[in-house]
């Protein structure tokens, strides 16, 4: 797969350009209370974190089957840095948060920015260390895997408790953090499945190590995570439904009162549970690349939809700028992936 090989410098140039574009869109053409960038960040962060974390977890459990897709997944680690750069833009958009008007010790622009940015950077460093070590099968890879996973959990919890939950104060849910990093892993697995599909297409004809087993296991993982996700979702929903505390249900009520919101909310259940569960129930499907691929796409859509549902009642969203952001980050990630930065780095 040498074709479409770009070198690092180009990647960085292009990234810079995109960053510039985004800077313009975010600073000039943005009106108050617009949360598009937050949405973009939420989605991509869970994706990228998920990829690396998935590999880390596989390494720790000595999963041999991950090998075919391992490098491809690891190749996304520079995105951790890119995302932390984009987070800086968010700092100029904290007006989407209720605490913007009257902050406190914990919630004020500077501290908010500082703590999150630092965690993002740490995560990047940990990710890089792990990626490189694991890439060359170093003997400290397990150590770095643990380190990365630790900060992965911290970072995802921060996303949940610090980025999303304050939009709905005084609503809060202790499970929200765990829910997020499980979803992140879920999306990571989905990406793995997609990569399997791509590789299997490439592998057609050529003699590259077959991904059959990997595909099957990834699909099984996807299946398992659909159940796990359902479990977490249910155990969060049930507690809120049963308690019926006005403060707690306010979150739900907002998201199921309006018809279109209700449709969106229910579609999450279908995309993240019903579809993967029912499709991947049978063994035959699990080893069928196209079907697994489609399922993975549905799952990713679900992840996006859910973030959308988080934000929709709280902030205003600008489809155009969403498009630009996604396009931008998308291109960067593909470039990085194609470039296999890991080769040239170190």
């Amino acid at each position: 797969m040498d074709q479409g090989r770009v070198n690092t410098r180009n990647v960085i140039r292009i990234s810079a350009i995109i960053a510039g574009i985004l800077f313009i869109t975010e600073s000039l053409f943005r009106q108050r209370g617009d949360g598009s960038l937050l949405l973009t960040l939420l989605f991509w962060k869970s994706l990228v974190d998920g990829c690396i974390a998935f590999v880390a977890a596989a390494e720790l459990s000595k999963g041999k089957w991950i090998l075919p897709v391992k490098n491809a997944l690891l190749s996304f680690y520079p995105m951790l840095f890119v995302l932390s750069v984009f987070f800086i833009f968010l700092l100029f958009q904290v007006d989407i948060y209720p605490w913007y008007s009257d902050g406190g010790v914990w919630f004020n622009k500077n501290f908010f920015g500082a703590r999150n940015f630092i965690i993002l950077l740490i995560l990047y460093v940990a990710g890089r260390k792990f990626a490189i070590e694991s890439r060359r099968e170093g003997n400290r890879k397990n150590f770095y895997a643990v380190i990365f996973l630790f900060f992965f959990v911290v970072s995802q919890s921060m996303v949940a408790f610090d980025w999303v939950m304050p939009l709905e104060y005084p609503w809060y849910s202790t499970l929200f953090g765990g829910y997020h990093f499980v979803e992140s892993l879920y999306s990571g697995i989905a990406v793995a499945a997609i990569l399997c599909f791509i590789i299997s297409r490439k592998a057609a004809g050529k003699n590259i190590q077959p991904v059959g087993r990997t595909l099957f296991d990834t699909a099984t993982m996807l299946f398992g995570f659909s159940l796990l996700w359902a479990g977490l979702f249910y155990s969060q929903y049930l507690v809120i439904w049963y308690g019926n505390l006005p403060e707690e249900i306010s979150f739900l009520v907002k998201r199921i009162s309006l018809p279109y919101m209700r449709t969106l909310s229910y579609s999450i259940l279908i995309e993240l549970f019903a579809v993967p569960f029912l499709i991947l129930l049978s063994r035959r499907v699990k080893s069928n690349p196209p079907l697994v691929f489609i399922t993975a796409l549905v799952v990713l859509t679900g992840i996006f939809t859910e973030r959308l549902v988080y934000l929709l009642p709280a902030v205003s969203l600008d489809p155009l700028r969403l498009l630009i952001q996604f396009a931008g980050i998308g291109t960067i990630s593909i470039l990085i992936h194609k470039n296999k930065i890991i080769n040239s780095s170190s």
């Binding site: 249910y234 929903y237 049930l238 439904w241 049963y242």
Partner: protein, 144 residues
């Protein structure tokens, strides 16, 4: 009058098995006894895959349906307002349904297993035939 061959060494046993089949002994006349599940045997004596999943699926489905039907029926048979919750509170009944799905599924699978693998075998219980070696090949009406 059947005859049997006993082995302690897996490979010897497998070779003998292949040899028997080559020598034209019909597969239905041969059955083997192993101390644990030996994959090679499946490959040598090809047989239809297990149908156990049918039982599993049926049981689980039944359980799921029962798990919803039962609470809904009972609550409707006497509508009592507790804590202002809806009389038919699906979120609460999901748990019952889930548990029953698993219960029925598991039991159905177990009984399906007994059925398929013809257990319990009465004469094996009354006077069990055990071989002093690990691997055994039984050949019916002793054709060589």
């Amino acid at each position: 009058m059947s005859q049997h061959f006993v082995f302690d060494e897996k490979n010897v046993f497998l070779n003998k098995l292949r040899e028997l089949l080559k020598s034209g002994v019909p597969q239905k006349n041969i059955s083997v006894i192993t101390p644990y599940h030996v994959h090679e045997v499946d490959e040598i004596l090809v047989s239809a895959p297990s149908k156990l999943r049918i039982f599993t699926f049926a049981g689980a489905l039944l359980g799921g349906i029962a798990g919803f039907a039962f609470p809904i029926y009972t609550t409707l048979s006497w509508k009592i307002n507790v804590g202002g919750k809806p009389v038919v509170s699906i979120p609460a009944f999901v748990i019952i349904a889930f548990e029953l799905t698993i219960l029925f599924g598991a039991l159905a699978t177990f009984f399906g297993f007994l059925l398929f693998s013809k257990l319990p075998v009465l004469k094996q219980i009354i006077d069990p035939v055990d071989y002093d070696k690990q691997f055994v090949i039984l050949v019916k009406n002793g054709e060589k």
